[in-house]
């Protein structure tokens, strides 16, 4: 299997970026907060930034090996790079943009991406979604061995975004190239990628499928990224797993053993709100008041007791109501802080 | 305000020594004449020839001009004299020389042309590379800095730039009469008294001494 192997280190302004990652014939998303170094990883792979140490290879083809003094120029690496704002050449029409890299099957690509009718347009005159398709077609015209996408959806407004996300999902799946894409929106990552790597301050905190990240986040940061709320406290192992005394004194139970200062991550969909303390002593219950209630989709998203819960509209919770946030010990995921 | 004297470039060194108070403007005489006609605030006009003051006088622009000095035209060559010029006739022989001459209309330019004509060397100006400088200072600078192989200027200029140039006398028959004339400018607000005083100082014994010291001739001596 021809895959991309990356193992690089590079000193950035305020931390060292150090990433080891293999990408097979799959889509891997790098997510992380602004300034985490996501773009830098892509640029290093494309040869636009030179790592201080490390090795980059596509199958047997070594693009970079600092130890052996190998460092191929960007134009000699078989990458397809879709830039954040697409970086289409504003003075060339769509056809010339797509043909820039190779040219042979530019027309095919225009057809395939449904942009043949725009061939004579300048990039300035077409919509955001169309631009994205042009950028993708242009990157593919060179028959790259890897596809790199930097924030492919961030230039789009909310409406177009949902549509283009679905469309891009289809296109990427169809291509079957090793693909590394960068985004700071976890939902985009989930929608587009097979595996997700969470990059924070230059370090990969966790790499795994969306399910793995959700079910077993490596740390509090990853947990919050996947949408969980995190409570902090100190844990002691007990028979059923662990007993966690939260910072406000509340005691909850988790299903996995743990010791010392920990975070407890709970996803909104695992939390039930009830007016009374639950009868069931096996369940965790945190009492408190409702902070905010926001409709989302057909449900309400309620913030209460430091947690979030999704509840049915029918329940009619109102800010200020006294409630108990109830969740099972198995839903309390113990994470490192 | 000090009396303003518009004077020929060649007087640049001598005049300020005669009158330290006056305000000076040196340039090609023909240009100074044009400036005075355009309303320049000159009180006294001292030209390197008699033609310009008389022209101004005929238009009622000044009082009757008087001649106050004479000068001689010389051929200047750089001290190093790379073209090996010994006499004016050398300009007509050998390789093409770079010659600096003042523009037609500028007194020293007209004098130079007249002298060449008298020597039968009028062709020199066709044959060589001739820069027609805007005033005599331009001629001297081109020769002094070696841009030109030779140039026509006044004997007095050769003294000032003696460190860098050497003067070659012209044959007597070629020497045109060079007479400097001055006139007191008539215009509204002109400082006529100051101009007359300055003119008097120029023509005074000490003025004549200074001019002679600078290499000029003085009339009526």
């Amino acid at each position: 299997m021809v895959g991309l192997d990356v193992d690089i280190a590079l000193a950035l302004r305020s931390y060292e970026l150090s990433v080891a990652l293999g990408v097979g014939r799959e889509r891997v998303a790098l997510v992380g907060p602004s300034g985490a170094g996501k773009t830098t990883v892509l640029r290093a792979i494309a040869g636009l930034v030179r790592p201080d140490r490390g090795r980059i290879a596509l199958g047997g083809d070594v693009w970079l090996d600092r130890e052996h003094g190998i460092d191929r120029a960007p134009e000699r690496r078989a990458v397809g790079f879709v830039f954040q704002e697409y970086a289409l050449f504003p003075h060339l029409d769509v056809r010339a943009n797509v043909a820039f890299g190779g040219g042979a099957h530019a027309s095919d690509l225009l057809e395939r991406f449904g942009i043949a009718h725009l061939a004579a347009q300048r990039p300035g005159g077409i919509s955001g979604g169309e631009r994205q398709r042009v950028a993708l077609a242009r990157a593919l015209a060179r028959d790259p061995g890897v596809l790199l996408l930097d924030e492919p959806l961030s230039a789009l407004d909310t409406q177009t975004r949902a549509e283009v996300r679905a469309e891009l999902h289809g296109l990427l799946a169809e291509l079957g190239l090793p693909t590394l894409l960068v985004t700071h929106d976890y939902r985009d990552a989930v929608a587009l990628a097979d595996r997700i790597g969470v990059l924070v301050d230059g370090t990969l905190r966790q790499v795994g499928s969306a399910e793995e990240l959700t079910k077993a986040p490596a740390d509090a940061f990853v947990a919050r990224f996947t949408g969980a709320c995190v409570l902090y406290g100190s844990a002691e192992p007990d028979a059923a797993g662990a007993r966690v005394v939260l910072d406000d004194g509340t005691v909850i139970r988790a299903a996995t053993p743990a010791q010392g200062r920990v975070g407890v991550a709970i996803h909104p969909w695992e939390v039930r709100l009830s007016a009374q303390s639950p009868g069931d002593a096996a369940m965790n219950a945190i009492p408190g008041r409702i902070d905010t209630v926001v409709p989302e989709g057909g449900r309400l998203r309620v913030r209460a007791c430091g947690l979030e819960a999704e509840v049915d509209t029918a329940q009619g919770p109102r800010p200020g109501d006294l409630v108990h946030a109830v969740f099972a010990p198995a839903a309390a995921l113990v994470v490192a802080v | 305000q000090a009396t303003t004297v518009f004077a020929a470039s060649s007087l640049r060194d001598a005049f300020p020594r005669i009158d330290r108070q006056a305000t000076w403007s040196f340039g090609a005489s023909n240009l100074l004449l044009a400036q005075i006609r355009a309303g320049a605030p000159a009180d006294l006009f001292a030209s390197a020839s008699t033609a310009e003051p008389w022209a101004l006088y005929r238009r009622g622009g000044c009082l009757r001009p008087v001649v106050f000095a004479t000068n001689r035209l010389v051929l200047l060559v750089p001290r190093s004299n790379p073209a090996g010029i010994r006499t004016a006739f050398d300009l007509a022989h050998g390789s093409r020389k770079r010659v600096a001459v003042a523009a037609p209309g500028v007194p020293v330019g007209d004098y130079a042309r007249r002298a060449l004509a008298r020597l039968g060397l009028a062709g020199v100006l066709q044959r060589n590379l001739v820069s027609s400088e805007i005033n005599v200072a331009g001629v001297v600078s081109k020769v002094a800095l070696g841009s030109a192989d030779a140039g026509f200027a006044y004997k007095t200029d050769a003294r000032i730039a003696a460190r860098r140039v050497r003067a070659i006398a012209l044959p007597g028959r070629a020497q045109p009469p060079i007479r400097y004339a001055a006139c007191v400018v008539r215009r509204r607000g002109a400082d006529r008294a100051g101009a007359l005083a300055t003119l008097a100082r120029i023509r005074s014994a000490s003025g004549r001494r200074t001019l002679r010291g600078a290499g000029f001739g003085v009339p009526g001596a």
Partner: protein, 274 residues
Amino acid sequence: MAARAGFTALLALCTGIVCVFLALPLVALFTQAPLGDLPSLLGEPVVRDALKVTVRTVIVANLAIVLFGTPASYLLATRRFRGRALLVTLTELPLVLPPAVAGIALLVAFGATGLIGSGLDRAGIVLPFSEWAVVLAMVFVAGPFYLRQGITAFEGVDPALVDAARTLGARPARVFARIALPLAASGLLAGWVLAFARSIGEFGATIIFAGNVAGRTQTLTLTIYEELGANFDIALAISILLVVLSAGVLLSYKVLSAWSGSTSTSPSPSARTS
């Protein structure tokens, strides 16, 4: 309400004064000149010679400026190296240098007794009194205008486009030719307009460095000065010719850039987010 009207009135007053002051001399040029005699005045041999010299030297000087200035400004704009700031400052210095000083400096450098001029002289290359001297003076004083605009223009090319071109397999030379050059073109053109105007108007450095050899180094601006004391109408006629020429260049540049601006500055990918 009074204060607000007062402020705008103040602005308008200043603008009025500025515009009248700038317009007046140009208007005077046309009202005072013997417009009827213009053709015959411009037909005088001295003008015709000067025009030929000016055209030749301006063309050569501007060719040199564009040919050497374009690669130099591209390198200075896009590469980072030690001493770069020094070189950039060096290219800007002639912009703030008085032309008379430029003339002196050229004289002591390339003049017959100058730093390298004496060597050139021995080698038989004589710059003073030659058309080349005019060209050198023009390049020295006008070149930096082109360089400065060129550096700005190349710096203004979105680096992402350059990166994109490289990941698409373009070598540096192709990136330059297909991406950087077309995108910097309008800025380069603006710089060239300034350099062109500056070279055609060159006076101070030329009069000091190149001499005033008719048919060889006497350009139109030198002729203006020479004719000032001789035939003022010729000076006026040349002035009008040069005003028309300068205004023509300026206007055609403005029309051109407005026109190209309207096609290429329509919302571009990078403009969208700013």
